[in-house]
Symmetry: C2
Subunit: 310 residues, 2 copies
């Protein structure tokens, strides 16, 4: 779409503030749902999508998620007021390097990565003077599905957006990004990047590794077909997230390596404690640990339900 | 109920075979649902419930799950054609010892325990001559809820009943037990007890320990409230079964100790392999393991859905 047309559309939006052009790198579950949420609120005039899979971009355009497909990252960001990087973490540096020289002077860049310290380090290295207009963010939402076809406008509704601004981050940039995610229904929480990475290593990255490991263990047994035939509801729930994107989780594991290794160390200690109790026949010890877990989880669920019915 | 009345009711059942008196030890989720399923099919004339919690037994009677509460195990089994032990595994031996001298000459005894070798060993030790009429069984169904109030007639519908008969087990006893569970909607599968215990250590007991361990790890962190506040859907699913009965799972861990320790050892090896890959930054290795897990799980789910829509 021509720049003039985008301007006309923004001006005609009944006086309500509207983004002109939004460029989305990675039109998958997260990028695609962000696009749909903003379109639903009539909060953006034009969306350009960039990605590795032509088939996925065509599907995204056909589904009305994006308006235009760009094959050249430079052209994609040229007129963009906001650029969202929703690519697997391993591609973040490359995309930043590609777009940095072509960003408009006041363009704001943000991301949706599951880890923050490494994304910030890359932004500092590759975005140059635009680093102050980069807003590190992590929308806490998702399913084990991936791709544009999995996207839906309400994915973020009632969920948390974690932003981890650095001292250089411009207030204006931060406002623009949080305003967009708030329109998608998110609650904004500010954290330090290192704090974010530790917390999500424990509550999200570790659980994914545990889930993948359990399926791999069973799949590696000589009689795996028989084992799977007897697996029930507990196994199903525990391994739901083992259906997640291998590439995305490979990147998360590498990007958040130290915090994840620390979380894994803690888990292995816990497991070793329980193993010791089982080996020693320490029923009292086991029951106490299990009861503590049940109580802690019940307390969490109760609190959750009373907040937003998640 | 008087014995004559039970006989009259059985005779009046339109010519269809009906159990006279069924005694259930432990009227919880499993025992209660078995009662409801048989009542729904008009397959039993009279149900006597025995248990540790008076409140639970009163609720069971009020809800029509049982017809009579017995406080004396001897009286409870006196006229019973079938006796179901649905107590936590740790109580099995005691109950067997209590009922053995009072069983009717042709009474059949069965259980619903999650492990089989230990139950069989106890039955051999305590049931004496009635051992040939003991049918070790494990209905593969349940939720993380417990107690009579959680019971419902369709809990077993479309699920598997594993029976692990011993060489001494009478065919007549086996038929009586499997016929009752089939009426509840179950598919009967025969396995060796040791095989059962290994399979369920891997697909059920291990996942429960993993789930409890994850909650305990987070609950043990100094900032656990903050951590829980950021936990999302993955964590919720992974820890659903950490809401299960601590007593039941303590007993399962102890009863199936060697098979569970072996399963844990395998899991710790798998985890250690993944940890090594994370530490070494082996992205290719990680992605391959994660992709294998995703593929194995997808294959399992597909097969499951095509069988019975579980």
């Amino acid at each position: 779409m021509k720049r003039a047309e985008v301007k006309k559309r923004v001006a005609a939006n009944g006086g309500r503030r509207m983004l002109g052009t939004l460029a989305i790198f990675g039109v998958g579950l997260i990028g695609g749902s962000f696009a749909l949420a903003l379109k639903k609120r009539k909060a953006v005039a034009h969306i350009v999508g960039v990605g590795r899979s032509r088939a996925n971009l065509l599907a995204a355009r056909r589904l009305g998620i994006i308006d235009e497909i760009a094959t050249d990252p430079a052209l994609a960001v040229k007129n963009a007021e906001l650029v969202l990087l929703a690519v697997p973490l391993g591609q973040t540096a490359t995309v930043m390097e590609q777009i940095a020289p072509h960003l408009a002077p006041r363009a704001v860049v943000t991301d949706a990565g599951s880890t923050k310290r490494d994304v910030i380090a890359n932004a500092r290295k590759y975005l140059g003077s635009a680093f102050a207009r980069f807003v590190p963010a992590h929308p806490i939402a998702g399913t084990e599905k991936s791709g544009a076809r999995a996207a839906f406008a309400d994915l973020f509704y009632g969920r948390d957006l974690i932003v981890t601004p650095e001292p250089e981050t411009e207030a204006r940039a931060l406002r623009r990004v949080t305003a967009a995610w708030k329109l998608a229904g998110m609650r904004v929480i500010t954290m330090h990047a290192a704090d974010h990475d530790r917390v999500f290593a424990l509550v999200s990255h570790l659980p994914h590794v545990l889930s993948f490991a359990l399926v791999d263990q069973l799949a590696g047994c000589a009689d795996s077909a028989k084992l799977f035939s007897h697996a029930g509801g507990g196994f199903r729930d525990l391994t739901r997230i083992a259906g997640s994107s291998p590439e995305m989780w490979r990147d998360v594991c590498l990007a958040n390596r130290d915090a994840l290794l620390e979380a894994l160390r803690g888990y292995e200690e816990e497991l070793s404690l329980l193993r010791g109790m089982i080996a020693a026949g320490d029923g009292q010890g086991l029951e106490a640990r299990f009861a503590a877990a049940r109580a802690a989880r019940a307390k969490w669920r109760l609190k959750r339900r009373s907040v937003i019915g998640k």
